[in-house]
C-alpha cells in the first residue's frame, strides 16, 4: 500500500501538509467538552441521574455522530479538495486500475476511522470507567463505531466518484444521507438507527423485532443485515463509478 500513489497522496495532504489535522481537532474539541460538561453539570430528574450515569452513552453517541459525519466528509474529500488530483488523472492519465484507486481510497477511509477512534479512545474509555460500563461493552462499542464509520463512510467515496466535478451536489447528498439515515431513520424503524441500537445495547434493552412475512426477525439481525447491505451497496457503487470513470 505504501507504494500506492493515491494512498500516498491522501497521506501527504492529510498528515504531511497537515490539512487533515482540523478533522481530529474538531473531533477532540467537541468530544472532550461534551464529556466533561455532562459530568460536571449534572442534571437529575425525579427518577434518573443523567449526568455521570450516562457518561459513556453520551460520549459514545457523540463520537458515533462525529465519526460518521467526518468519515463521510473525509471520504468525500471535503478537506483541502484542491490538493487532491482528480480521478481522471489517476485512471486515464496515469492509467492506474480502478481496483488500485478503490483500494487506496478504502484504505485511507479505514485509516481515518481507525485514527479517529484511536485518538478518542482515552476519552471514551475514561467515560466507561467513570460510568462503570463493563469493559466488554466498551470494547463492543468500539467495534460498532468502527463498523458504522466504514459502512457510512463508503458512501462518501461513492458520492466522490459519482459526482466528482459537482462538489455542491456531493456535499448536499452526504449531509442528506447523514441526517436521513443516522437521525431520521429512528422515526421509521428504530432498530435500523445506529444511535438507537448503541443506546439499546449499552442500556441492556431489547429492541422490538421486525415481523416480516409472518416471521419475527430479531432486531440485531435486521440492524446488521441492513448496514452490511447498505455498506455493500455503497462499495459497489464506488467500484462501479470508478470503472465508469476509467472508461
Amino acid at each position: 500500500m505504501s507504494h500506492n500513489p493515491v494512498w500516498r497522496e491522501s497521506i501527504a495532504v492529510f498528515f504531511v501538509e497537515g490539512h487533515g489535522y482540523q478533522v481530529y481537532f474538531y473531533l477532540l474539541a467537541i468530544l472532550a467538552p461534551v464529556e466533561f460538561l455532562s459530568l460536571y453539570v449534572p442534571s437529575l430528574d425525579a427518577q434518573k441521574w443523567s449526568g455521570s450515569a450516562s457518561l459513556f452513552k453520551v460520549c459514545a453517541i457523540t463520537l458515533l455522530l462525529l465519526l460518521v459525519y467526518f468519515s463521510l466528509r473525509v471520504a468525500n474529500q471535503e478537506f483541502a479538495p484542491w490538493r487532491f488530483k482528480p480521478l481522471k488523472h489517476w485512471l486515464r492519465e496515469q492509467s492506474y486500475s480502478a481496483a488500485l484507486v478503490s483500494q487506496a481510497q478504502l484504505a485511507f477511509l479505514s485509516a481515518h476511522v481507525a485514527l479517529s477512534l484511536l485518538l478518542c479512545a482515552p476519552l471514551l474509555v475514561w467515560a466507561g470507567a467513570i460510568s462503570r460500563t463493563p469493559l466488554e461493552r466498551v470494547g463492543v462499542t468500539f467495534l460498532l463505531l468502527l463498523f458504522y464509520g466504514l459502512s457510512y463512510g463508503v458512501w462518501g467515496l461513492a458520492a466522490l466518484v459519482l459526482w466528482e466535478r459537482r462538489m455542491e451536489n456531493r456535499q448536499v447528498f452526504i449531509r442528506c444521507l447523514f441526517v436521513g439515515l443516522v437521525i431520521l431513520s429512528a422515526l421509521f424503524y428504530l432498530p435500523v438507527n445506529p444511535v438507537a441500537f448503541v443506546l439499546a445495547y449499552l442500556g441492556r434493552q431489547e429492541l422490538a423485532p421486525l415481523t416480516l412475512f409472518g416471521l419475527a426477525w430479531p432486531a440485531p439481525w435486521i440492524h446488521f443485515t441492513f448496514h452490511l447491505l447498505f455498506g455493500g451497496a455503497g462499495f459497489a457503487l464506488h467500484r462501479w463509478g470508478l470503472r465508469r470513470e476509467a472508461l
Binding site: 497521506i11 498528515f15 504531511v16 497537515g18 489535522y21 481530529y24 477532540l28 472532550a32 464529556e35 466533561f36 459530568l39 460536571y40 449534572p42 442534571s43 437529575l44 430528574d45 425525579a46 427518577q47 434518573k48 441521574w49 449526568g51 455521570s52 450515569a53 450516562s54 484511536l118 485518538l119 479512545a121 482515552p122 476519552l123 474509555v125 475514561w126 466507561g128 470507567a129 467513570i130 460510568s131 462503570r132
Partner: protein, 700 residues
C-alpha cells in the same frame, strides 16, 4: 454418592457373577444349561433345593443392587427426599393489626431425610394505599431440618396490603414445599392488647375488650415475640399476677425496645408480690414492691358527688422510684405513671382480681381509664424524604465529589489534549517521520487509556456506592430520643447491597419509587433476636430511599421555662457526642449557641420580646419561628436542614405558632445502618432537635 458411584452399582448388577445366579423357577429344573444340574450331585431333590436356594439368593442380591442403585442415583424416589410440611401461625393467636408488622410462626415438619434449605416468605408492599405499584419483599431464613423432626421458625413480616396471599416456601436441594396464606382471615383494624396473666381471676380484665375495635388476647410469656417489631401492632401489654422469669433475654429486650418506641404497659399488682420483685419484671416497674397490705381506696367521687371509698382493698406496698404517683392511699402509691422513651408504664398497686375490688361494679370503667393516657401522645414532626430532596442532595457538589472525579478528569483531559497537540507539532519541528509521529501518538494513547482507566475505575476512591443517613433525633425528655433516619443508598455499579440494621430499629420503610418497583424483589434476611439484613440489588447509578425509626438513649437534658418575656434554658449534655452549630430559635429571634461539648452543663436566659427597632421592621409573623436565613458551611447539611428537617411550607406547623426550637448537629453520629464493605462510602448526618410550645410553658 456421586453419579459415577451409581453407575458402579449398576455395573455390579450386570456383572456375570451376579447374573449367573442360575435358574430360579421350577421350570428351570429341567433346564439343560443349569450348572447345578451339571454338577456332581445328580439327585433331583437336592438339585431342586439347591436351585431354589440359589434363586432366592439371586433375588435378594438383585433387590439389594436395585435399592442401592436407586438410593445413590438421585432418582425421584420417596426415600431419597425430605418431605416437608408447612404449618403457619399468624400474629397473636391468629390475629394481627392491619398495616403493622406481626409475628409469623412457621412450623416445619420433616418426615424424610435431613434437609438444609431456605425458608422464604413473600409479602406484598406498596400498592394503591402507598401511592405506588405493588412490589414483593421476601423474608428469608436459612433452616436445617433434621430427619423426622419439627422446627419452629419465628419471622416478623410486614405486608402493606393483604389482598394478595402471603406465600411461604421452603426449598432445599432435596425438598421443596410451599403454602399460600390468605391474611384476610386474620386481621384486626385496631391495635391489639396482650394480657399476660397466670391468674384465672380475669373477669374484670375481660371488660377491657369492650374498647372500640380493640381486641384483647391472652398470651403466655412464651408466645411473646423476640423481635420488637413484631409487637408494633400491639398497643398495650397488661401484666397481672404473671411471672416473667421464663422470658428469654431476647424477649425482654424486645419488650423493652417496644416500650421505649411507644408501647404502653399496664402492670396490675397482686397478692403474689414476690413476682413483682423478680428482676425480669421489676425492670419495668416505676416502684419497688416490698409487700402487701389492705388499704382504703377512694377511686373517685360517687354519683352524688361525695367521695366513694372501698375499704380493705388488697394493695402492694411500694416505694416510688421514678414517674409520677397519680393516686396515693394510706401512704402508698396506688397509681403510678412513668414514661420510657415514647412509651408509658402504668402501675396499679391494687389487686383487682380479689375481693373486695373484684366485686366493685365500677372496676371495668376504672380500668378503662388506665388505657387512655391523661395527655394524648403527640407524634413527632416527620421530616421530608423523597426523590425531590435526594435530587438536591445528589446534585450538590459535596455529595457529587465523593464519587464523580470531575477534577481529575479535567486534568487528565488537559494533559492528554496537550500531548496530542504536542506530538505532531514536535514531529514537524524535529522533522520526524510520519511513522515515528504515529508511534508517539500510539504510545500516548495507550498509556493515557490504561492509566486513566485504572485511575477512574480502580483508584481515585470512587466508591461502589454511597449510603447516606440523615437522622433527626427528636428529644422526648428523660434521656431518650426518637431517631427518624432517612436513608439513601446510591449505587455506581450493578451489585447487591446488604444493609445491616443496628439493634433496636423499629421500622424500615422503602420510600415509594414508581419506576423501580418492578425490579428484583428485596430480601429481608432475619437472623432471629431482631437482627435483620436488608438485601437489595441495585443497578448502576440507581438509588433507593428508606425511612427508619428507632428510639434510643441520648442523655442530653434540656429544660425550658418561660418567665414572662424571658425564656430560661438549662442544658446538660450527658451524651458521648458533641453538638455543634447549635441554635435556639424563638418567635422572631434566634440565638447562636455554638458548640455544646459532651459533659457541658449550663443555663441561660433569653429575651422573648423583639427589640423595638427590629419589631417595627420585621415582616415575619411575630409568633413564627423562621429558619429561612440559617445556612451552614456544608452544602449537604444546608439541603437537609431546609428541605428535609424544616421544609419550607412544611407539613408540620408545631414551630409555626409560638414554639421554641433548639437544634444542634451531632458530631460523628452513630450510623443506624451499616454496609460491611469498604467499597461503600457511608455518610452520616444527625441533628438533635427539641421543640417546646411556649404558650403552654411546658418543660422539656
Amino acid at each position: 454418592m456421586s453419579f459415577s458411584a451409581a453407575k458402579a452399582v449398576f455395573a455390579c448388577c450386570q456383572s456375570p457373577r451376579v447374573t449367573a445366579g442360575g435358574c430360579y423357577s421350577l421350570k428351570s429344573i429341567q433346564n439343560a444349561e443349569c450348572r447345578v444340574q451339571k454338577s456332581k450331585w445328580g439327585n433331583p431333590n437336592l438339585h431342586f433345593a439347591l436351585c431354589i436356594r440359589q434363586s432366592a439368593l439371586c433375588i435378594v442380591r438383585r433387590t439389594i443392587c436395585l435399592l442401592a442403585a436407586l438410593f445413590f442415583s438421585g432418582l425421584p424416589f420417596s426415600f431419597a427426599h425430605a418431605q416437608i410440611l408447612i404449618e403457619p401461625r399468624v400474629g397473636f393467636r391468629g390475629l394481627f393489626q392491619l398495616g403493622r408488622p406481626f409475628p409469623l410462626e412457621i412450623e416445619l415438619s420433616n418426615s424424610g431425610r435431613p434437609a438444609e434449605g431456605v425458608l422464604e416468605v413473600q409479602v406484598w408492599k406498596g400498592g394503591a394505599t402507598k401511592g405506588g405499584a405493588p412490589f414483593a419483599v421476601n423474608y428469608r431464613r436459612e433452616v436445617f431440618l433434621p430427619a423426622q423432626a419439627r422446627k419452629t421458625v419465628q419471622l416478623t413480616v410486614d405486608p402493606d396490603f393483604i389482598s394478595r396471599p402471603l406465600a411461604i416456601t421452603f426449598s432445599s436441594p432435596t425438598a421443596r414445599a410451599a403454602k399460600e396464606l390468605d391474611l384476610r382471615r386474620y386481621f384486626a383494624p385496631a391495635p391489639l392488647l396482650l394480657l399476660l396473666s397466670e391468674s384465672n381471676l380475669l373477669a374484670p380484665l375481660a371488660s377491657l375488650t369492650t374498647a372500640p375495635q380493640s381486641r384483647m388476647i391472652t398470651v403466655s410469656p412464651g408466645e411473646l415475640a423476640a423481635d420488637p417489631r413484631a409487637l408494633l401492632g400491639v398497643s398495650h401489654v397488661i401484666l397481672y399476677d404473671q411471672s416473667m422469669r421464663d422470658l428469654s433475654r431476647a424477649q425482654l429486650s424486645a419488650l423493652d425496645t417496644w416500650l421505649t418506641a411507644g408501647g404502653k404497659m399496664i402492670i396490675i399488682g397482686s397478692l403474689n408480690f414476690a413476682l413483682y420483685q423478680e428482676a425480669s419484671l421489676s425492670r419495668f416497674l416505676p416502684v419497688r414492691v416490698t409487700g402487701t397490705r389492705r388499704i382504703t381506696f377512694t377511686p373517685h367521687a360517687g354519683k352524688d358527688g361525695r367521695p366513694f371509698a372501698i375499704a380493705g382493698v388488697l394493695a402492694q406496698e411500694a416505694k416510688l422510684l421514678n414517674g409520677k404517683a397519680l393516686t396515693e392511699a394510706d401512704g402508698i402509691p396506688v397509681l403510678v405513671e412513668a414514661s420510657r422513651g415514647r412509651g408509658r408504664i402504668v402501675y396499679l398497686a391494687l389487686d383487682i382480681g380479689r375481693p373486695p375490688l373484684s366485686r366493685w361494679d365500677g372496676l371495668a370503667k376504672y380500668l378503662q381509664t388506665l388505657l387512655t393516657p391523661a395527655v394524648p401522645d403527640e407524634a413527632s414532626p416527620r421530616s421530608e424524604w423523597n426523590d425531590a430532596v435526594f435530587a438536591q442532595l445528589v446534585a450538590s457538589p459535596t455529595f457529587i465529589s465523593t464519587y464523580v472525579p470531575f477534577g481529575s478528569l479535567f486534568f487528565a483531559m488537559l494533559l492528554y489534549l496537550t500531548g496530542v497537540a504536542l506530538i505532531p507539532w514536535l514531529g514537524q519541528r524535529l522533522r520526524l517521520t510520519l511513522r515515528k509521529i504515529l508511534i508517539g501518538l500510539f504510545i500516548l494513547v495507550a498509556a493515557g487509556t490504561v492509566a486513566g482507566y485504572l485511575q477512574f475505575n480502580r483508584g481515585g476512591n470512587i466508591p461502589d456506592g454511597v449510603l447516606m443517613s440523615s437522622t433527626v433525633l427528636e428529644s422526648s425528655g428523660d434521656g431518650y430520643v426518637e431517631a427518624q433516619a432517612n436513608l439513601a443508598l446510591f449505587s455506581t455499579q450493578p451489585r447487591p447491597y446488604d444493609l445491616r440494621m443496628e439493634r433496636g430499629w423499629m421500622e424500615l420503610t422503602p420510600v415509594s419509587n414508581r419506576v423501580r418497583e418492578t425490579q428484583e424483589p428485596a430480601v429481608v434476611q432475619q437472623e432471629g433476636g431482631g437482627v435483620s439484613r436488608y438485601h437489595i440489588p441495585l443497578r448502576e447509578w440507581d438509588y433507593r430511599l428508606f425511612r427508619m425509626r428507632q428510639v434510643d438513649r441520648f442523655p442530653l437534658h434540656l429544660e425550658f421555662e418561660a418567665q414572662g418575656d424571658k425564656l430560661s434554658m438549662k442544658i446538660n449534655n450527658q451524651s458521648n457526642k458533641d453538638l455543634f452549630n447549635c441554635w435556639l430559635l424563638v418567635p422572631g429571634q434566634r440565638f447562636d449557641l455554638g458548640q455544646i461539648a459532651r459533659g457541658a452543663s449550663w443555663s441561660r436566659t433569653f429575651p422573648l420580646t423583639l427589640p423595638k427597632a427590629q419589631a417595627e421592621t420585621s415582616v415575619t409573623r411575630a409568633d413564627a419561628v423562621s429558619f429561612r436565613d440559617l445556612s451552614f458551611a456544608d452544602k449537604t447539611r444546608d439541603i437537609l436542614f431546609h428541605s428535609s428537617y424544616f421544609p419550607q411550607g412544611g407539613i408540620d406547623v408545631r414551630w409555626a405558632s409560638g414554639a421554641a426550637v433548639f437544634f444542634g448537629w451531632v458530631k460523628h453520629p452513630e450510623p443506624r445502618v451499616r454496609i460491611d464493605d469498604p467499597r461503600i462510602q457511608s455518610q452520616d448526618y444527625a441533628l438533635f432537635r427539641a421543640i417546646v410550645p411556649l404558650n403552654q410553658g411546658e418543660d422539656e
